[in-house]
Symmetry: C2
Subunit: 233 residues, 2 copies
């Protein structure tokens, strides 16, 4: 269960010559998401979607305001505890994938399992299963610079899923995928949500993808402009 | 004018333990594009689109076959001459942007003009114009890690346009843009094509974006599966 209350996120940017500028990426944002929801976050480029998702994923902290995740106040946690919470509960698909460039697809997907102390043999086996699910079985030994854009994106997705997280946060998960491959990915998310109760929150620019969610939240200039329930298609 | 004849591109990938595998990314592909055309290249993830675009952009050489660009056989050119041809004729938008991480948006956009010996003052002025055109005037001093995904994409687009290239090659130019911003970018491409005769070849997964082109080429497994003229919408 996710509870953001009056969250602000201010970035400070150097303009050179000792000058600085503030960017208010999230403005007094409050949001409640129940366990098991399937939410799409939409909005113009620069409206604050990735900033919001990074805070939800415990990768960034609000400048002010509160974030309660399953009853725990995140701002009160040390970095070490936060990392453990993240590793156990959250699968995150980054907008720019963040794969390790000198490791194969297989090793990239298996990475989260190292932190949870899974044996090398079991990590390998589970990573193969996840890669097969996103149709990349025959690319498992390729490194990121030997993969197409959409293949890299799918490796990032497989890595987010390997720990069976209870919360899946995905930032533009189909941005580099053709429509058919994109639909396959969204049906994986849908299946996890419906069959295993995984909470799914995905940022997307694609109206077809947003239509698969049961709730669509539109951001504009760091605020929630719209929050609508819908029948998932 | 672009003439590919029986182009093959084979990648060799190490599988570990001294084993290697070949990936045939383009198979005996032939393609003729006249000056001033507006072409969309579509196809499944991994079908060879970026590989094709990189060869067209003189960023990669075919394993075999011929590429004549405005009558010049590209495979016969030295790397130095190839770089000059590229700088003078071609604007390239990369699927993963390839911005310089420690430089501002303004410096990234101005970069191609350094190679053509433009003065610092003129570079700055022209870069500001291009950034304004993609609605990023107030982000010019941000570095790539201080930009949203779609803002980085637009910086890459502005950089591709700053030299007034005669050929614009764009790899998924709207993948991280909301529909409205994406339409603004495509109308810039359309305007360049119609008013200045720029040859535009863009890879896209978005059927709405592909509809703006006058010719759509669909790749499948490294080959041209379909090549259709259409009325641009
Ligand atoms: N450097 C490389 N070494 C080995 N294989 C590669 C390399 N680059 C690409 N490939 C492989 O070649 C095939 C074509 O790649 P390419 O990047 O052209 O696909 P694409 O059509 O652009 O895909 P996407 O839509 O996902 O971006 C893919 O199957 C990919 O795994
Ligand atoms: N580290 C940073 N420093 C300064 N400003 C930043 C930083 N990161 C993001 N911003 C700014 O904050 C705003 C929101 O960024 P964010 O990445 O959340 O947007 P977004 O909605 O995900 O956009 P897109 O759809 O283009 O990915 C943008 O205007 C961006 O320029
Ligand atoms: Mg974003
Ligand atoms: Mg590609």
């Amino acid at each position: 269960m996710i509870d953001l209350e009056r969250v602000n996120r201010v970035y400070v940017v150097g303009k050179g010559s000792g000058l600085f500028q503030e960017v208010i990426a999230l403005k007094d944002l409050s949001l409640h998401v129940e366990s098991g929801e399937f939410v799409a976050i939409t909005g113009a480029s620069g409206s604050g979607k990735s900033t919001l998702l990074n805070i939800l994923g415990c990768l960034d902290r609000p400048t002010s305001g509160s974030y309660r995740l399953d009853g725990l106040e995140v701002s009160g946690l040390s970095d070490a505890v936060l990392a453990r919470v993240r590793n156990q509960k959250i699968g995150f698909v980054f907008q720019s994938y963040n794969l390790l460039p000198r490791h194969t697809a297989l090793d990239n997907v298996a990475l989260p399992l190292i932190y949870s102390g899974v044996s090398r043999k079991a990590r390998r086996r589970r990573a193969e299963v996840e890669l097969e699910r996103v149709q990349l079985k025959d690319r498992s030994h390729h490194r990121p610079n030997e993969l197409s854009g959409g293949q890299s994106q799918r490796v990032a997705i497989a890595r987010a899923l390997i720990q069976n997280p209870s919360i899946l946060l995905a930032d533009e998960p189909t941005g580099n995928l053709d429509s058919r491959t994109g639909r396959e990915i969204i049906s994986i998310f849908h299946e996890l949500n419906v069959e295993r109760g995984v909470t799914v929150i995905m940022v997307t620019h694609d109206p077809v993808v947003a239509a698969a969610a049961r709730r669509v939240i539109r951001l504009a200039d760091g605020e929630i402009a719209e929050d609508l329930a819908q029948t998932s298609r």
